[in-house]
Subunit: 692 residues, 2 copies
Amino acid sequence: MLDALFRPRSVAIIGASNNPLSIGHIVMQNLLDHDFKGPIYPINPKAKYIKSLPAYASIADVPDEVDLVNISIKNTLVPYVLEDCGKKGVKFAIVHTAGFKEVGGDGIALEKQIVEVAHKYGMRVYGPNSQGIQNSDPEISVYANFTFVPMSPGNISIVAQSGGVGETLKLHLYNIGKGIRMYSSFGNEADVSMNEIIDYYGHDEETRAIMVHIETLKDPKGFLEVARRTTPKKPILALKAGRTAEGISAVASHTGRLVDQDTLTDAIFEEAGVLRFHSQDDMIKTAIAFSDQAVPKGDRVVVVTNTGGPAIIAVDECMSRGLKLAKLGAKTKETLKKLVFAEAIVSNPVDVIATAGPEQYGGTVEALLKDPGIDSVLLVFVTAPFADCEGIARKLNALGKTAKKPIVCQVMTIDKWANVVRIIREGGIPVYDYAETAARVLSSMTQYGKFVQRKAPVYKKYKCDTKRAKAIVKQHRGKGKFLPQDDVFDLLKCYGIPAAKTVRITKKADLKKAAKKVGFPLVLKVDAESLLHKSDVGGVALDIKTERALVTAYDGMARKFSKAKPAFILQEYMKGGREVIMGIKGNEGLAPTMMFGLGGVFVEIMKDVQFRLAPLSNEDAMSMISSIKGFPVLEGVRGERAADIDKLAEILIRLSMLGADFPGIEEMDVNPVLAFPKGKGAAVVDARIKIG
Amino acid sequence: MLDALFRPRSVAIIGASNNPLSIGHIVMQNLLDHDFKGPIYPINPKAKYIKSLPAYASIADVPDEVDLVNISIKNTLVPYVLEDCGKKGVKFAIVHTAGFKEVGGDGIALEKQIVEVAHKYGMRVYGPNSQGIQNSDPEISVYANFTFVPMSPGNISIVAQSGGVGETLKLHLYNIGKGIRMYSSFGNEADVSMNEIIDYYGHDEETRAIMVHIETLKDPKGFLEVARRTTPKKPILALKAGRTAEGISAVASHTGRLVDQDTLTDAIFEEAGVLRFHSQDDMIKTAIAFSDQAVPKGDRVVVVTNTGGPAIIAVDECMSRGLKLAKLGAKTKETLKKLVFAEAIVSNPVDVIATAGPEQYGGTVEALLKDPGIDSVLLVFVTAPFADCEGIARKLNALGKTAKKPIVCQVMTIDKWANVVRIIREGGIPVYDYAETAARVLSSMTQYGKFVQRKAPVYKKYKCDTKRAKAIVKQHRGKGKFLPQDDVFDLLKCYGIPAAKTVRITKKADLKKAAKKVGFPLVLKVDAESLLHKSDVGGVALDIKTERALVTAYDGMARKFSKAKPAFILQEYMKGGREVIMGIKGNEGLAPTMMFGLGGVFVEIMKDVQFRLAPLSNEDAMSMISSIKGFPVLEGVRGERAADIDKLAEILIRLSMLGADFPGIEEMDVNPVLAFPKGKGAAVVDARIKIG
């Protein structure tokens, strides 16, 4: 429970000072400026008064209980001060001071020490190296933070790993007159964690949307759990930095932490229904819409405009972001035709033309909101000097207040019509500068709408021989090596994953017996840990039809790879079928990431690949398969037959069960899986597993 | 010459009125408010004075010469008024009035008529259905337009097909206190064209950047010519609407015009060095940078920040937009380390930390500008309450004024520090709200920098048998049909394009003779206009090794396709090689578009394909080939040998010569071309041509 942090009854400022450039002073000023509802106790051994408030030499001298302290004194003094706070019964200590884990060396020990001191007294540490917290709840109004953006009440809560980014997020809400609910930039996360904060926001009834900025996920599993229980109630909008190699290395030098994989972030966000943004602007603009607007039930958007061009830009952007243009119902069209001027275009976009007044523009929006074929409304509105723009705004205001579908708006205007913008915004309709922004916002809202309507996942329970699988895995645990091929194929068998018939031999004497088992035509492959890309080096002979040809191929490879002392694989030769690749990537302390794509070039060069967390539900597997760009290849292009997609999904699910059962699997590549035509199944031809 | 339009010595307003909601009134108000430097003549048969200026019953009554008239009377009266204007010697008539070509029917004839009337007198028509023009040159200061965004002098000129978009572009320059040079939204383009306007801006010395909004390119060839001669002098930034199918159909219903192919636009922009934007915001923000900043000479960016997080976001965005992080020179590092505080990070991004003052922050930027390994500078700056922010701003102002490299900036601040933003902007450094914006701007500027450094294209002059080619094409001209295969292969031969040996036969009697010519193994293909995708329907038999097998295959196909009365193709069977596809798409009145991609799925599903206009220079061909995402496939992945890329480029160039020589080619697909390993050449295996 973070109540004493975000809803403190009293705050003490350790390091309070009359120097207006000091953090202690600025925090105190912020608390005073925002009319904090409890007592403020400046602590300063040298001053009698700070900003007209009586100062205390030590926290011990404060006559009443203290919920929260803000600390901005020298790093090495923090542990001593925390002892005093602990004795006093303080509940939370925000440590602004830097010079802890982020500087390495002694800082690491010092950070550990302050947490230990705090926990000894049941006190929690927020930070160190942190900005602070804010809560705009008028009953509290706490601004225990040294930033400068003024605070006013709202329903968007923010948590930012970077204070600079957090400030940017607050700033742009402030610039359009929008408040926030709670704010937090938590620094080194030594004790109070981002996940706890998100969880707290999730339980706060006044918070309608949560914006998160992440540089590294310290506890991915915890994040997944918190996000999973929060997103059904309210959207989490997240910006995760480090999506390019250079960005990742910048994060590393900034936070001094190991870096999460970007693909893992995507998989976690997908699983938990977190909306990922790559731009602060898009995230802020979307949060604004969520703060007042209904969540769309589907992807059919209508565009209404009183000037043509920007509406077309809106359509382009909507379409390229996956929305669909709603088809207006016959009844709606009839209503509109009666409403609008003769020159208007009753289609989608609806162009009511610049002379439209409240009846034409507002009436149109009203009629469209009633059309069951429409899920969201995007308005383009220029304040034409010859139209009753305020009248239109008032009408939109009324519609915005009652609409069960989201309405977003681009308004083109200047100060002269500032009132128009104000009236529309007061109706809860977000006003943006550009149609593109409005389109992107609706697209993100629609994505969230799909998420909240997502059915509970169905996990198929295939029967697997986990006992045998355990025995195989146990043999290799702790070696950090790739398994021999027969064990790999045995593991697949344990999980009911079809594969080409495969026999491994270690000496030539077994060659003919093995060939009999497998049958001709067959494939001969070399098998050695040092030869991972065996087909690249001539370690694979396909379509061997006779015993004689087999012996020749064997002798050739045995000579060629004699140094590697390889074993050999004989495998049933399978022809036809579309190649796909599946994979497992282990994540420490978290379920592994599953991978799916068409093989080779499609994965390595086109990067057309999907990631989800194991285990996969049926919907997960189908969505992975159908989300790759190359999906039409599996559906069959140009009259070709569709591949057995159901079987691919089943294999993917079974594989994810294997992954979930054995978190020790560092990586597994199943490449290729051959998918035969619909109804004909699929089979693994090659696979490798590394167990840590 | 559009001088009398953009620099009129006098303006008459036909339709001037005392009704403040009328267009005539608003235009007059705009002219007066912006202090037009010549006489204004309101024309109104019923009023004696309009806005205190003497009104004239007819243009004929105006005592002096009139350069420009603005007309906003009923559409059917326009031709009569134009007669009077013509007689008076008016040079340009801006027709605001709608109800012409855009409404179809009589409007089309009316539009033709007004142009005819005007041309009779050597007068030009601007519009109809147009907003108007503006020129902020203080010597003229003409606001002959009915929009509402106030005008002030600047060096960005705007031409917008949509008035609503034009207004948006002006608006956001105005909002940050930035002026414009000239503005134009030209409506139906019945006479004065967008291309003329761009050309005029191109010749205007005060214009440093041109923003263009296009819905349809009425005259692509003219655009190409104008853009080609403008972009070496100043950047053209363009937003072309209709990039999705739905957007295209919205454009069509909006403008009533046939729609250009989006790919043609890309090819034209590429050829002419026009920067294409998909967002108004990005276009505006980039124009602002061009208006004051130097063009970068390369792609190496440095990020400087006084707060960590946003800089990482900047890095992510820079990298994903193709920029590179500059490596700081040893000397630069040395200088910086002496300058900045101990906690600062001297790397890229450079984090000077929040306590940095003018010496630390400004000094860092100064040192970086001197580093020859840096091409552009992105600043992130939060106005930390404890730093001398105005001092930093003043230092940046001075650097901005003299820098030979572009500097762009994200500033995080509130009104309290408005001065800081003003001072930085006055140094010519654009200030943006978000680091992402700054990164995208630098990326676009870098793209332009590459363009202006582009060497003059080298066109290889391969010898071709154009005489024979002409004879072949002549045979088929006007039929709008696909050519028989032997003519297709003959055409390829005329242009020296290597192809598999191919013989076409029309009767079985010729089968064996043909087989002898081609040699075994060979391919048998059916050839009939009705069977375009012959391999999909079993019309191709590969790798036929014997005469007997050939006869069997022939008989089978002859039976199967008897209805189509097909001819047959015998072709040398080529094995190995990587498949690529090339194509020609004819463009009326313009050179054809050339196409290149890896075949099949890569083109049809992954849309990994490049377009350029014919004829191709050597650089064009190489850039087409290397710009596809799948290029590594041709370079050779995983130890495979590289394909003969030089030969592919040669074939592409030769094909582009064929395309350029015969604009009558509606479409040509060369699919596949087999590219053999480097040095081993490439050959066309199949091709089809349609001549219109």
